[in-house]
């Protein structure tokens, strides 16, 4: 099952730029939460703080409390373990070009020490099924390189790769923005299924996408979180004028 994330007073910097200002919110377990906002508002930075990828940049800094269940991911755990429990799918699919599809999906497992072929086979199949890619690639698992798939397939493979290590949360940073509409809708269908077992956080530029897949939505603007509520409320009756302006397309 997925687990919820509790964020309190999160602040983040890139060098001297104060990218995130005092963010506090609660991401419920087994739901999909969308984060919307104009370019550069900090939503990607926020999401990268949730799996401690933000700190991989040498000039990056963050303060505040992020709790996964009752584990403070900064104080009580090490980044390697957190990144396994909080998976990430990136904006542009990043398959490992030197590996086959099988090896790509299994890569996380192998890193974690799983060598048993039966377990690997089973997990690869399960992950690919979960990512709705199994039928398309099952005959060429070990023959085709991960990079030889189409864009939409690559992204689903990256999702399978992330799922294979059994995370509790799945972060998706504009996962469909580089894809065609057919692939996009396939991935949105996927999110419907995935949120039964995982907690999903999806950053998106596409408000219709947020409205389609997420139960809750947060609106970011200039590093601050302006409003966080059920998707229905945000899109039909937002509390803040800025939210309303963004929704109706007056800027962004």
């Amino acid at each position: 099952m997925g687990v919820g994330i509790d964020v309190q007073n999160l602040n983040a910097w890139y060098g001297s730029t104060h990218t995130l200002q005092d963010i506090s919110l609660s991401i419920p377990a087994n739901h999909a939460t969308a984060l919307i906002g104009p370019s550069g508002c900090g939503k990607s930075t926020f999401v990268r703080c949730l799996n401690r990828m933000h700190e991989t940049n040498p000039i990056a800094r963050a303060t505040g409390v992020v709790k996964m269940g009752d584990v403070d991911i900064y104080e009580d755990a090490n980044p390697v373990e957190i990144r396994r429990r909080v998976g990430m799918v990136f904006q542009r699919p990043n398959p490992f070009p030197t590996m086959s599809i099988y090896d790509n999906v299994a890569s996380g497992l192998k890193l974690n020490g799983f060598r048993n072929k039966a377990i690997l086979d089973e997990t690869v199949e399960r992950s690919l099924r979960a990512a709705a890619l199994w039928d398309e690639v099952k005959d060429e698992l070990k023959k085709k390189s991960g990079a030889s798939l189409s864009g939409g397939q690559q992204q689903r493979m990256c999702i399978a790769r992330a799922l294979a290590v059994d995370p509790e949360v799945l972060l998706m940073d504009e996962p469909a923005s580089a894809l065609d509409p057919v692939s996009t809708s396939k991935i949105e269908d996927l999110i419907f299924e995935l949120k039964r077992q995982y907690t999903i956080v999806i950053v998106t530029h596409n408000m219709q996408q947020a409205a389609r897949v997420a139960e809750n939505t947060g609106f970011f603007l200039n590093g601050k979180m302006v409003e966080f509520d059920s998707t229905h409320k945000i899109f039909t009756n937002p509390k803040d004028k800025r939210t309303e302006d963004y929704i109706t397309g007056r800027f962004g």
């Binding site: 799996n51 990828m53 991989t56 040498p58 390697v80 373990e81 957190i82 990144r83 396994r84 429990r85 998976g87 990430m88 990136f90 542009r92 990043n94 490992f96 070009p97 030197t98 890569s107 996380g108 890193l111 974690n112 990256c158 790769r161 992330a162 290590v165």
Partner: protein, 310 residues
């Protein structure tokens, strides 16, 4: 200025530039043709066996270059064995681990290492490395590793091992800096993809960077090999200059480049000179092939981005 004279000027200008550019081909062709021409005598006399025989008797006019081929290969491969792990370590350190402030000074130092002339390395090797080999390192190796049968015979400080060590020092910077370039060319998205699966730093470097860069790294290593094959002065000064196949790492030996350096100006007789030139021809062809392969591999990974003039 009228249109037509402008055109003439343009055409003339580009023609001049083209001619100068073609000089690169001209240089290669020139070297090839003149070396072939001057080694004809030796080619006729000894044929291909020249490279498989082990004679080198200028007095009797009998020449066989095998000991030099052995010496060149042995020193180069030994040097690679020592240099490659260290070079990769430095490259990994500089690209992934090094704090920003140290990056510049350390890469500057490796650049300096690359710029030191061969003869200066040789000088240092003769007066520092050779005595150390003779008095300290050699006896140490013999005592603890003598069971490998690699360290027999007399140890005068000069020989195969000393030459290999100074070679390793000399080829290390080029392998390291090209490896660095290649590692830097791997996109960040690959590193982040591995990291996001829950990998340690080394696992990220191994799977996300080195694995993607491996073709280019092989190219860098081969480039180092090419450099080692042709290195002349420093090797000549410490290899012992003995035209026999060495039986231990302490034995003196000879390389293709060294025999030319040592004996060319004293070569009496046309056959002698021709034999030496034939060796030069072999060296030329081998280094061209090795370098071509290496450059092709590196190019494949960096997609033809202009290489620094190494």
């Amino acid at each position: 200025m009228s249109r037509s004279s402008g055109k003439v000027a343009d055409t003339t200008f580009s023609a001049i530039m083209l001619v100068c550019a073609l000089s690169i081909f001209a240089i290669v062709l020139f070297i090839l043709s003149i070396l072939i021409a001057r080694s004809k005598l030796s080619l006729h006399q000894f044929g291909w066996k020249f490279f498989t025989r082990s004679a080198w008797d200028p007095v009797a006019g009998d020449f066989g270059a095998f000991p030099f081929i052995f010496g060149t290969l042995a020193t180069s491969l030994l040097a690679l064995l020592m240099a490659v792990p260290l070079a990769l370590g430095v490259a990994v350190f500089l690209t992934e681990l090094c704090p920003q402030k140290l990056r510049s000074p350390i890469s500057f130092i490796t650049e300096l290492l690359a710029a030191i002339p061969s003869v200066v390395y040789g000088l240092w090797a003769v007066f520092v490395l050779v005595p150390v080999m003779r008095d300290q390192l050699g006896p140490f190796l013999e005592k603890y590793f003598g069971w490998t049968h690699l360290f027999g015979g007399y140890n005068f400080g000069v020989g195969l091992l000393t030459a290999s060590i100074i070679l390793a020092i000399m080829i290390l910077p080029i392998i390291s800096s090209i490896t660095r370039d290649i590692m830097l060319a791997v996109p960040i998205s690959q590193r982040e993809g591995v990291l996001a699966l829950g990998a340690t730093r080394w696992e990220m470097i191994r799977t996300g960077v080195l694995r993607n860069a491996r073709i280019g790294i092989v190219g860098a290593i081969i480039l180092g090999l090419g450099r080692a094959l042709g290195e002349t002065m420093a090797v000549t000064m410490v290899i012992g200059n003995h035209a026999e196949i060495p039986t231990s790492l302490f034995s003196p030996g000879y390389t293709l480049a060294s025999v030319i350096a040592n004996e060319f100006s004293e070569a009496t007789g046309d056959v002698y000179l021709s034999a030496l030139i034939e060796i030069g021809l072999a060296l030329f062809l081998v280094t061209i092939v090795v370098n071509a392969i290496a450059r092709a591999l590196v190019w494949a990974v960096t997609r033809g981005a202009p290489a620094r003039a190494h």
